[in-house]
Symmetry: C2
Subunit: 224 residues, 2 copies
């Protein structure tokens, strides 16, 4: 159990949201525009348009499973808790991550109801066109291994956990059918890979929607 | 100090985000639209447009103070911590909340670096046109009293802490000039009014922007 007090440090695991930011072709184009300024109206206001899966975001079960929970129906307890990082950063672009790979990386550290974050190291390739189709991804058996490990949430430091172009979405299906939301497009996972930390990624309360952007963070408590 | 473990309950303090939701006239109109469906493309996706101050959101200092911090520059530690609610729900619409009112409601419970949430009871009037201009609001001296109490974040259960139509925005100025962000449009504060809880409201990481929507929550830890 972790203890929370004034002595804490919070690390940002979220991607900055900017106008026209990097996204899959065919997805909504992120837009961020000035709406009013202090000079004009006394108050600065901005208008922005995003997809439900733009930037750092959480997939709700109904993203892939018809009739399953929407993002506002997922219990909030899923989005906050003790977390470990599995280091798969040795994987090459377009290489699969299997159940065996995860088991080795986990090395018996996963406890029931943990949040498990997959470090692929891809966050450092952000913005490079060639990686939009090639990146390490979870196989169906890897996703099922996570389900069997009784984790409550899975995260990754790339736009998706799924192999590029998959319509079946078998990794998503395995997790989402079992009520495990997926947080995608995290950053800075390498900074927490050697310790058990508190993680939070409460998504926007978009009513009836298939996912939502979030501000994901790691909370490190200092020794007193 | 609060302890976090598996035994916790998280309460939603955020307003559901819906197409065309209630907002100040002249502000951006919230929009939520289906972008693709599982039937069509194998994946459900949604596109949404919001103002930086739509729904439950955090005001960054630069919302009112030219050149001050943007929402992504505010230290994350401001958005997470121990919280108390000040009950001002006896106030009438259009009545001011003064420093004296806050002092009485606080009854010496505020500790330095606390998050303080103001319960006006207005959340139950959501959607009623007549309250868009009439609601209890903080006076400048009330805001200064909060600054002097060394709170790190202030919240309220209405669209704004400011008197309607104020261009000067003196309550905002007092808080934001002192680096105290403001979380507005909270709900369910009456459910946590009698206890010290953990509160989180990490706003979206909108780069260079004057504020951002957030999923605000209260975390209640159970006795073991």
């Amino acid at each position: 159990m972790l203890k929370i007090g004034e002595k804490m440090k919070i690390l940002d695991l979220s991607r900055p949201i900017t106008d026209g930011m990097y996204h899959f072709s065919g997805d909504p184009v992120p837009q961020v525009k000035i709406f009013s300024t202090i000079e004009e109206k006394g108050w600065a206001l901005t208008e922005f348009t995003l997809g439900s899966h733009s930037g750092t975001h959480v997939d709700a079960p109904c993203h892939k499973v018809k009739g399953a929970s929407t993002i506002d129906e997922v219990p909030l307890e899923k989005f906050f808790g003790e977390t470990i990082v599995l280091d798969l950063s040795y994987k090459k672009p377009d290489e699969s991550i299997t159940a065996k790979d995860l088991e080795k990386a986990a090395n018996d550290r996963i406890r029931p109801s943990d949040i498990v974050l997959i470090l692929t190291g891809m966050a450092s390739h952000w913005g490079k066109e060639e990686y939009l189709t090639k990146y390490p991804y979870l196989t169906e058996d890897a996703a099922k291994w996570l389900v069997n490990s009784k984790v409550k949430l899975v995260g990754i430091d790339w736009l998706t956990v799924e192999k590029f172009g998959s319509k079946e979405g078998l990794a998503h299906l395995a997790l989402l059918e079992n009520g495990i939301p997926i947080v995608e497009n995290l950053v800075n996972l390498e900074k927490i890979k050697d310790e058990r930390v508190l993680f939070a990624c409460f998504p926007l309360r978009l009513a009836g929607v298939d996912g939502a952007p979030t501000r994901a963070v790691a909370i490190k408590t200092k020794k007193r």
